[in-house]
Symmetry: C2
Subunit: 202 residues, 2 copies
Amino acid sequence: MARTNRSRFAVLGALSVGPRTGYEIQRDLAESVGHFWTESYGQIYPILRELLESGEVTVSEDPESGRGRKVYRITPAGTKAFQAWLRDAPSPLAVRNELLLKLFFGGTAPPEVAIGHLERALAESEAALQTLEGVMATLERDDRDDPMFPYWAITVKAGIAGYRAHRDWCQESLSTLTSLRARPVARRARAARSSRGAARKR
Amino acid sequence: MARTNRSRFAVLGALSVGPRTGYEIQRDLAESVGHFWTESYGQIYPILRELLESGEVTVSEDPESGRGRKVYRITPAGTKAFQAWLRDAPSPLAVRNELLLKLFFGGTAPPEVAIGHLERALAESEAALQTLEGVMATLERDDRDDPMFPYWAITVKAGIAGYRAHRDWCQESLSTLTSLRARPVARRARAARSSRGAARKR
DNA sequence: AAACCCATGTAATAGGTTACATGATTTG
DNA sequence: CAAATCATGTAACCTATTACATGGGTTT
């Protein structure tokens, strides 16, 4: 696992917008950065306690709320820590793509298996694309004049670009594998494989 | 964390190609699927012990090797488990993109910060792209006739497509943010922000 | 009054990295 | 003979999810 305590900064980031309860932090993060970042309560509440102890946030317990709302506020020390993190180069992302792992070993099963995975992935990326295009439209309609707009917009565009590329790749791979199914090579396959031994080298 | 024990299947997948030592499993995975999947020794060796206990692999300790090589071999039970996993729909990937998180909050710092991150990301994606294009060329030269070729090729193409999209997005975002720097809005920004309060909604 | 949303929090557990310790063998 | 590579393994630690427990307030 990364050594960088990123959840902490996601929480501080949410609080940099304004005071929030733990619940609201979760919800706001899901709504704004949910397509590339999520936090669970199991992370948020303990982090909030830590931030309180280190003086990066303060709490005010709302007395008139019977619900026991605890509104957290970022302190100057918290802002300073957040800004320092913001300037640091992001740590390289650890990708672990299970779809690709299954496809890589897809040749050990009938092509239908890999094809099925790709068809599902294609449908999912099309759905995700539609969602994000909707988000982009809403953003352009409602927040065009917000000074944060360009920053928000590029993160949405990153998602759109990613899903588009993924969708196109699904389609291309699908046609590669379906043409493979047309002329089966399974017998040939087994023979050739056993005579090779080594995995492919970079 | 995912409930799916994916490392276990990466190890079985490596062994599905042929017998391997733990060391070789790590190396082969890094060489073949390294651009979307990695395993550390801290995972591999304990998993190998578990697989041994559950009868999914066997070991043969090489006596003539002074190094104490332990060669693992997948059993029919192991193959069955691996094939079952291969057919299951891949679990959705949990993306946590620190670059995007920093960019989303980039408006709270001078544009140079976000621009710097994007410039680095651009350079990295160009480098990664070159590497993967090299991998693809090698693959097409050496393994074109291997029955696994189409499966290996699509995973490499996934990487290439992803990095291309990422590179293009970096360039586009960079020009968005640099044009922003030309006509600074920082003062306006702070005023508008404090009058808004709420985070952007989906 | 049921259903749903707001709200806080913990416990169990899994998944994973990093760093270290140890040593043999091969290659330049 | 030094350096690189082969090879096994563990300990400490962190990150994160899932599931649960608990209850108030709001809407239909």
